[in-house]
Amino acid sequence: MQAASPDQRALARPRSSPLRRALGRDWQIAWLFLTPLLIVLVGLIAYPFVSAIVLSTQRKMVGSPAEWVGLSNYRELLFGAQYGPIFKHSVVVSLIYTFVSIAAKLVLGFLMALLLNEQFRGRAFMRGLLFLPWAMPSLIVALTWRWIYEGTPSGLLNLIRIDVFGAKTLVQWLANPDYALWSTIVGVTWQGTPFWTMMLLAGMQAIPGQLYEAAAIDGANAWQRFWFVTVPNLRSVLIVTTLLSTIWTANSINFIYILTRGGPAGATMTFPMLAFDVGITGAGQMGMGAAISVLFFPLFIVAIYFLTRHMLSSEARA
């Protein structure tokens, strides 16, 4: 707790009970205001999460009673013959899927934000246009990409190849295991980039113009102004955006559900899609599905912790 400023102390009610000293000046009204939030937090997030952990120690099929099996779901996922290879594969796919699309969104989003930060005719219109992919329902974006990638002559890419380039064969963008993951990443990057642009643009506009003037006077060229003024000032924006975007990308299954459902041959089976596949559709092994989700939770925390620390320490060196 930071110390109260003199005028705050003057405003605080004169009577100071021990309870107030122990719990903070405004504890009564604060907890009153937070009650609805706490109900949601406990009832709809914490309790389900704990019961998901419990569920992951059970063998429970849809419509049948649960049976306690200890850690055998986890053992099966990590070392088992049936789920082990599938699970390991989904870890690799998830990592590629998340990191490649985040890196692409970062680069493209930065470029677009730099462009939109310049003065030019029609800038307001371009900004409005740019944010549209992000506001579009992701299901619809995914359906549209499904049509673009369609493996018949009516799919947009195949139509262009045949009509414009006179190709004689059809490319199976989604049904070919070599292309499916990359096709999905392109679609997900298309939709996610505007969020990066939006955040970075807002951050760039908060950088005082004097910093650039001072750098220019000191003889910094455009690249140096970007690297030593723009980038360091965007540090907190970059951390927040990376965290949010990583969480969204890694956890979302909308795109994969519509485009490939994890196929072909597991080429796009990220871990949430696998959890969905195992726990809900198909086998309906709710316990095993829960175990997959729970197993990824600590990985997330570790990834986010290292990411934050790395970005903070690289800033300290700069």
Partner: protein, 250 residues
């Protein structure tokens, strides 16, 4: 195939819109017989009810909680905010099965209330974050002046702070409206009948096995995209300002 390809259609038809709104008019496009027909007007209504409810509840809970985090002094304030924001890292899938069982127990499956409740789990962290960081940008002195002039704390909040925080509230409302409007996974799992299906679920229902009814699907997509597009065109500035308030100010 024609060379050069014709990108401009020879004729324009609204049949796909009719086919989306009234599946019995699918006519020759009824490729797969017997598939569950979607009730598009009902889905549109469901989506609207759910998204508005989520936005309003978020604005209310988010304002009170944001105020508590931004302005009130109490032990555990920072820790609670951190824990709360960290809940955003809980994968939706991890809690989905448990939520399903809870809603089943409460008899809420296949109701819109289940959707509103489950959407609160992933929208509230954003509205709390947006409101808390937006309220911090408003000078404390304004409220203190109101307190000195004899306003109660609630009065100062209602008469001074909330009017100034309106852009933040608009941002939170629009952002959460969009998230709720676009949500697909929970709606797919928690709803089974047409009385509960939202627009995205209805659209996905046009995929029948390997057959994609692209015409009606795209017509439905345009209908589903129009409200969020319009909202963003009108209020994009607020949303950017609200979202950026937390990030820029660090």
């Amino acid at each position: 195939m024609s060379i050069p390809p014709h990108w401009i259609p020879d004729y324009i038809t609204f049949d796909n819109y009719l086919a989306f709104i009234n599946p019995s008019m699918l006519g020759s496009q009824r490729l797969v017989g017997g598939g569950a027909a979607i009730d598009a007007p009902r889905a549109l209504l469901n989506s609207t009810i759910v998204a508005f409810s989520v936005a309003i509840v978020n604005m209310t809970i988010g304002s009170f909680a944001g105020y508590a985090f931004a302005r009130l002094e109490f032990r555990g304030s920072r820790a609670l905010l951190m824990i709360y924001l960290a809940t955003r890292m809980v994968p939706a899938l991890a809690i989905m099965v448990s939520l399903y069982l809870i809603f089943q127990w409460a008899g809420l499956l296949d109701t819109l209330l289940a959707l509103v409740l489950s959407y609160l789990t992933f929208t509230l962290p954003y509205s709390v974050w947006i409101m808390a960081s937006y309220l911090r940008t408003i000078p404390r002195e304004l409220e203190e002046a109101a307190l000195i002039d004899g306003c109660t704390r609630l009065g100062a909040m209602r008469r001074v702070l909330l009017p100034l925080a309106a852009p933040g509230m608009v941002a939170a409302a629009i952002f959460t409206f969009t998230l709720a409007w676009n949500e697909f996974l929970y709606a797919l799992i928690f709803c089974s009948s047409n009385s509960c299906k939202t627009l995205p679920v209805g659209l996905a229902g046009l995929i029948r096995g390997d057959i994609y009814l692209f015409g009606p699907m795209m017509a439905g997509s345009v209908i589903a995209a129009i409200p969020v597009m319009a909202l963003y065109m009108l209020a994009q500035r607020f949303v950017v300002a609200g979202l950026a308030a937390g990030a820029v100010k660090g």
